[in-house]
Amino acid sequence: MSLRIVVCVKYVPDATGDRHFADDLTVDREDVDGLLSELDEYAVEQALQIAEGRRQGGDDAEVTVLTVGPEDAKDALRKALSMGADKAVHVEDDDLHGTDVIGTSLVLAKAVEKTGYDLVVCGMASTDGTMGVLPALLSERLGVPQVTLLSEVSVEDGKVTGRRDGDAATEQLEAALPAVVSVTDQSGEARYPSFKGIMAAKKKPVQSLDLDDLDIDADEVGLGGSWTKVDDAAERPARTAGTIVKDEGEGAKQLAEFLAGQKFI
């Protein structure tokens, strides 16, 4: 039987660009280049490796990459398709503008269910919101186990297993499929799309869905349906220029003076 893997990815403003807020205090997506969130590349990579492993063992697997976002978010899907995903689903609807993580988890859960899944793979967090809670929310909504923050993952005999490197301990986790998994940036370097992959991606199917297709009311999502509100956003004042000295043999002593002056020693 084919293993149906759905990878949830996010199209984010480039973290090395000049990110800021729009007038309505949502993330400005107009004035900064967007791309597939770097942390989601690891999710795509692990999904592809799991699928390749299945195929080598004579089983079948299919990797669907799923995103929620504006028109430009297709770029993120294209990147994942050119890495090797089989097909894509794009949830796009003007009413989604300003949706918070609770709303996003609703949309993704409905889209994952509509697509059909045995395994959902996510990155550890987005590089813009950086909350890191979406996989747990998806697990709660779908009513399936969460096997999250894995630096190693494998799927065998209808079970997913993996290693979670926490602050206090390293844990080996195990759950029956279907399940929601998230992988960290330690799970293995993501592949670069090959020229062949990029060409093939152009022919791969991208399904578009809107809120109606998912039976979601407009007031459940968007800025209006958000359960949180950003009251204000202020640019952090630039740090005042510090003292910089060149070490001519006295650098350590000068630094010690500074630290003593600040009462650190």
Binding site: A136, T148, L173, V230, A233, R236, G242, A252, A256
Partner: protein, 320 residues
């Protein structure tokens, strides 16, 4: 006064510092009620009471250790239903955020993660967050349900405010989903004897310039002289010189200590995201053009292998 649930982060009843910070912040909103899951509630209670817990709701069951996250959500939900709090505060650890998010969804409440400050407001608690690699500061509120807020370590100085802190048993019924993810084995991390990276008052970090795992002792020696935690840049971690659990930056820990010392770290955005809210920043780097120098209060352009050992000796001498 309204009650505020505070989820206790502890190791067998030894309460970790971020929980004391949460109790301190919770008192701005209401009376803190601590929720202690797992063994050691009785030994934790004295500390929790000292920092203002009016009550300690305690539950212990093998499920908390044997299965991932969900049993703890079941217990926190039981506490929520028993108390009807004005807010739920949870430490911003990886697990804390997952617990908080699932609870928020279950009780139909909005969630704010990684707050760095919290104050009472006319329409509920107002949370300050540092976003876009700390380039912006936002203030946000939960507008639906009981606010669920996770708070980062080092967001407040713990202040003692003795309260009753009596331990009450919290009855918990685990749902059928609670045993979905089995923890097959757990290997506790070996203690380095140094402070926890995210909780430390001083952090000394090494980067590409350290040039090898064997050279990290230079960083560790200075850290030990200062009583500091050790951090590493992504470049150093990716090179295999230091464990990922010590990585400071976008994909690692984000720290906000009183003093951050960056040695041999250029200061790419990926690193800055994890440290630029530090109160005082010091850098030692050979390259005077390194972007890290834009952030520093004090910078030394020089070879870290020259400067750090001498600084270590200076610190030891001054500390006597």
């Amino acid at each position: 006064m309204a009650e505020v649930l505070v989820y206790v982060d502890h190791v067998d009843g030894a309460v970790r510092k971020p929980t004391l910070e949460l109790l301190t912040l919770a008192r701005r909103i209401g009376d803190p009620v601590a929720v202690h899951l797992g063994a050691g509630a009785d030994s934790a209670a004295a500390t929790l009471a000292e920092y203002g817990a009016v009550k300690v709701l305690a539950a212990d069951a093998p499920e908390f250790a044997d299965y991932l996250v969900v049993p703890k959500v079941d217990a926190l939900q039981a506490a929520y239903e028993a108390v009807s709090p004005a807010a739920v505060l949870v430490p911003s650890s990886a697990e804390g955020k997952e617990i908080a998010a699932r609870l928020a969804l279950r009780i139909g409440a909005g969630i704010i993660t990684d707050a760095v400050d919290l104050e009472a407001g006319d329409s509920g608690p107002v949370a300050t967050q540092s976003v876009f690699a700390a380039a912006f500061t936002t203030r946000s509120r939960v507008t639906k349900g009981t606010p669920v807020i996770t708070v980062k370590p080092n967001s407040a100085a713990p202040e003692a405010a003795p309260a009753a802190g009596q331990v009450e048993q919290l009855p918990v019924t685990f749902g059928e989903k609670s045993t979905g993810t089995k923890v097959v084995s757990r290997t506790p991390r070996e203690s380095t004897g140094r402070p926890e990276l995210t909780e430390a008052a001083i952090v000394v970090s090494g980067g590409r310039g350290v040039n090898g795992a064997e050279n990290f002792s230079v960083i560790e020696n200075l850290a030990d002289a200062l009583g500091a935690a050790v951090g590493a840049s992504r470049a150093a971690v990716d090179a295999g010189w230091y464990p990922h659990t010590h990585q400071v930056g976008q994909t690692g820990k984000s720290v906000s200590p009183q003093l951050y010392i960056a040695a041999g770290i250029s200061g790419a955005i990926q690193h800055r995201a994890g440290m630029q809210t530090s109160k005082t920043i010091v850098a030692v780097n050979k390259d005077e053009e390194a972007p890290i120098f834009d952030l520093v209060d004090y910078g030394v352009v020089g070879d870290l292998f020259e400067v750090l050992p001498k600084l270590t000796e200076e610190v030891k001498a001054r500390k006597g």
